[in-house]
Amino acid sequence: MTIRGVSWRLAVWPYRTIWPTRDGWWCLVAALGLGFGAINTGTNLLYLLVCMLLGLIVVSGILSERSLRGLRFTAVVPDDVFAGRPAPLCARVVNRKRWSTSYSVTIEALGPDGAETRVYLPRLLSGEERLVTWETTFAARGPHPFPAIRISTKFPFGLFLKAGHVPLRAEILVFPSVSGLGPELRRTVGTAAPAGIRRRGRGHDLYNLRDYRPGDDPRLIHWRSSAKTGALTVRELEAETAVDTRLVLEGRSGDADAVERGLSRAASFVVHLIRAGAAVELLGPGVFVPLGRGLAHQRRLLTALALWTPAAAGPARGGPRSSIREIRVRLG
């Protein structure tokens, strides 16, 4: 059977699971009991009631299928997804049926961590579109499939739960996890600037203490000095300085965890440096991203780190080396 054939069959007869609810079991038991009564008494009106229950079951199947059929899901992938951090995922659901409304549809998204998110749509008119959002956390970097979506309904009578899986052919690239740099590392990155450019700014290190002025951020009040002097004193912070940096990935080991830790550290440097306004170049086994700055460049760097695999690593690629600061990150 060809791919086209499979698609056609799935379009006509999609995979569904169906299971009676508690009320559904009662309905089935009632139909069975009535059927027994009808056979034993030969009463056609009892047969009629049994057939009515069977008819209800059939119509329930048709209407529930009608509710689920014609719903099209489109994955909406966020730009930056980092390993270990909750990421907002979206799926756009459209009722593509020309006339009929979809009633009582529950959308369940199952994240890679097993967490389940349920969204209930009482009604989706023909042509109507809804954005369904949920949060999920990816544990590891690299390309991941978009989390599976399960649609289900108990419509119309609440007798049966019909469910189906919606294949979403979308991939999410998860960047390595990023953590804040420790003070020492930050100082290493930040104090590497030439002397004489130390200035007031929005960094982390202390630049000066001065008297409080209205409008100052209360979080910057230096309480110890205030207590000593008897007047409110606030901290002034030093502007972070950034210099163009080459991140060099080096060293290889068979320890996958060590590799991941190294990549995570490199990603943290990338985010910190780009945010500080530095230009960053990435050089490593089988990977080279030329010098650049800005958010688009940050994405290029993080993509390269997310896709890096020890198997694909070769000799360090790259153009002529410029004389810029180098930060070496060991992969194991």
């Binding site: 009106l45 069977l54 009722n95 009582s104 009604r123």
Partner: protein
């Protein structure tokens, strides 16, 4: 109307519908039905009662225990049948639930319980009104279930704010669902095999006792029923049987009487025989003689409190759902289930009106039979004298019988006023004083006069033909059509003689069109629902098969380009209609964006190559996972596929542009992949 209010209304209506069903089934009397309906209506304002009961310490438990005890006592000692006791318990539970309801589920449960009212009534009613009760229940039930489902799910999802405006569209959908359920019910009903053996008969339908059809009938017994217009019998002629025109004088023969004591006719010691089914499944009552036209028809007989089967004389063959029938030597047929409503099919050889028969078909009566059919009580001499006077000069007994019949039908007047005016015998008073009477007097007078001139005769009670219902194509026989006539043994055969002027088809204004329509509906209800049987299913299947076989050559002929092209045209019309519906229901394609980015051409070619080997990406599988899976199966593809996957990821996620050199290199990798996949 808000959704919860609509649910409440629908549930209450369902319960009232169930009460009507119990009334139809005879499980609730008129007063009981009114009381229960009032209680159901009162439960609309249930909060004060509920709160008062809830405030009582263990109030609800006490009520339940009391009711359980009362119900047990009722079922054991009071109730006529266990079903009656259970129904009373059900009614209590339902009303109690309505009064004590707190949640949506309680309301819905009341609707569920009302279904069992229909179940209880179903075996006990045959009324077509049950059909309308069922329809109403279905529509209300579907509406209730849908509303409850949406409300409950929304409540669970804590999003009730999205419900306003839902009601109307849901109502339309529920009506569509009701229509679909009715259609599905009909299909199931007609197809599910009837294998019922009636092993657990419930309370049977007891019909009204109608005088005139027992072994002894007093003169004037028909008087009270001749004004009753209730339909008691519906006779549906089979295809090929003449309609109302040719069957103008048809009568439905019931019971024959041979003994007259001056005031009452009795069937005295008739020779009765049990008759079993033939190997064809029918009862062979008598032999076909080829002397008259044939008639086949189906009879639906309401309970009359008699075991007599009514049919047009002379009955040849009879099909009825019973193991045996009883046939007496006067041609009366009876069954052993007098209280049940009967449906049977009959084939009769009708009598020729001209009495022209060949001599070899004559049957002579023996001495005992002659004594039996010439029996007379002591009669005033003037009755015999009158009979002789009327028949004087007749060339044979046939002519004498005709003269007597004509004499009575022309000189006497038909009336339903049967007040006695003298202490004389009824027949004498009819012939010489009142000179008017109903069909019983005419028949009795003719039988007595025939016997007094030596012609064997007997009186027969049955029904006249009835009105023809053109909407249902059947005869509608009412109680007022009850009739008496005479059978005389003339020229070696029992002949029907009807001296009553009422024996002629009446030309009075018939029932209204609406009455005829309603009765036709009732007839179809009996025919296709109440009496639908395994035989009917077999016959229907046979008809479908025949129709299919008939269409096959017509289709073949149409396909060859000659003959009737209508079948092909019909198929084309259906195909075009279905295609149009499918096309128009495909929906809003333009509003949907494509999921994901476009696959780069080099990777698409690689996927196509692998698809030829049966390797396709599964839903939810990343390119990297797919690559690993392929390499496990085709290890030779590892190098080119790894590179292609890596470049694909760069393009896909990094939106990296590919230069011409890289593209050429990737094309080489695709070629390598093709070669490797062939040799792996």
């Amino acid at each position: 109307m808000s959704a919860p209010l609509a649910l409440r209304v629908a549930t209450h209506l369902m319960v009232l519908d169930g009460v009507v069903a119990l009334f139809l089934g005879g499980l609730l009397g008129a007063v009981g039905a009114l009381v229960v309906s009032a209680a159901v209506a009162a439960s609309w304002w249930h909060e004060p009662v509920r709160d008062r009961i809830a405030a009582m310490p263990r109030g609800s438990q006490a009520i339940v225990v009391l009711v359980a005890l009362a119900s047990a006592f009722d079922i054991l000692y009071v109730a006529e049948t266990m079903l009656d006791g259970l129904v009373r318990l059900l009614v209590f539970l339902l009303v109690y639930r309505l009064f004590m309801r707190r949640t949506l589920r309680d309301t819905r449960d009341a609707g569920f319980l009302s279904f069992f009212m229909l179940v209880a009534a179903a075996p006990l009613t045959l009324s077509v009104a049950f059909f309308f009760v069922l329809l109403a229940f279905l529509v209300l039930g579907i509406w209730t279930l849908m509303l409850y489902h949406i409300l409950a799910e929304a409540e669970r999802a804590t999003k009730p704010r999205e419900l306003p405006g839902l009601g109307r569209s849901l109502l339309v959908l529920s009506l569509v669902a009701s229509a679909a359920t009715i259609a599905a019910t009909a299909v199931f009903f007609f197809v599910i095999p009837r294998v019922g053996q009636a092993a657990l008969p419930l309370r049977s339908q007891v019909g009204r006792m109608v005088s005139g059809f027992s072994d002894r009938v007093e003169m004037g017994a028909f008087g009270e029923i001749e004004t009753d217009s209730a339909v008691v019998m519906r006779v549906h002629p089979a295809p090929g049987t003449p309609g109302p025109g040719p069957l103008g004088t048809l009568r439905w023969r019931g019971i024959a009487f041979d003994h007259f004591d001056g005031r009452a006719w009795t069937a005295r010691d008739p020779q009765r025989a049990n008759l079993g089914r033939s190997r064809y499944g029918q009862f062979e009552v008598s032999w076909f003689r080829g002397l008259g036209p044939m008639a086949a028809y189906e009879v639906y007989l309401e309970p009359l409190g008699t075991d007599i089967l009514f049919a047009a004389p002379r009955v040849l063959r009879l099909g009825v759902r019973t193991d045996t029938i009883v046939v007496d030597d006067m041609g009366s047929i009876s069954v052993s289930t007098p209280s049940a409503r009967l449906q049977y099919v009959v084939q009769s050889e009708l009598e020729r009106p001209d009495f022209a028969e060949r001599a070899e078909h004559r049957e002579l009566l023996d001495a005992a039979a002659l004594t039996r059919y010439l029996q007379l009580p002591p009669l005033p001499p003037r009755i015999r004298a009158l009979a002789q006077e009327v028949t004087a000069g007749s060339r044979d007994e046939v002519a004498a019988a005709r003269r007597l019949t004509d004499f009575l039908s022309t000189r006497f007047r038909y009336t339903r006023v049967l007040e006695r005016q003298t202490p004389l015998d009824p027949v004498e008073e009819f012939l010489f004083v009142r000179r008017s009477g109903n069909c019983e007097y005419f028949a009795a007078a003719l039988a007595v006069m025939l016997r007094s001139v030596g012609i064997p005769a007997r009186v027969v009670n049955g029904f006249q033909r009835g009105e023809w219902n053109p909407y249902g194509h059947y005869f509608m026989v009412r109680l007022s059509d009850a009739h008496s006539w005479v059978e005389a043994h003339l020229a070696g055969r029992w002949r029907t003689l009807d001296p009553s002027p009422r024996g002629e088809p009446e030309l009075a204004a018939g029932p209204s069109v609406i009455t005829l329509y309603l009765d036709a509906l009732r007839m179809r209800w009996y025919r296709y629902v109440i009496d639908w049987s395994l035989q009917d299913q077999v016959a229907a299947a046979f008809k479908v098969r025949q129709a299919t076989l008939m269409w096959r050559p017509r289709l073949a002929a149409a396909a060859r380009g000659w003959g009737d092209a209508r079948p092909i045209l019909a198929v084309l019309v259906v195909a075009v209609t279905v295609g149009a519906v499918v096309f128009w229901s495909r929906g809003h394609r333009g509003t949907v964006r494509r999921a994901g980015a476009r696959t780069p051409p080099f990777y698409a070619r690689a996927l196509k190559t692998l698809a030829r080997r049966g390797l396709r990406p599964e839903p939810g599988e990343t390119a990297r996972e797919f690559s690993l899976r392929v390499v496990q199966r085709l290890p030779g593809c590892a190098s080119p596929l790894g590179r292609l996957t890596s470049e694909y990821e760069r393009v896909r996620f990094g939106a990296a542009a590919i230069g011409p050199e890289t593209l050429a290199e990737l094309d080489r990798f695709v070629g390598q992949l093709r070669t490797s996949s062939r040799h792996s």
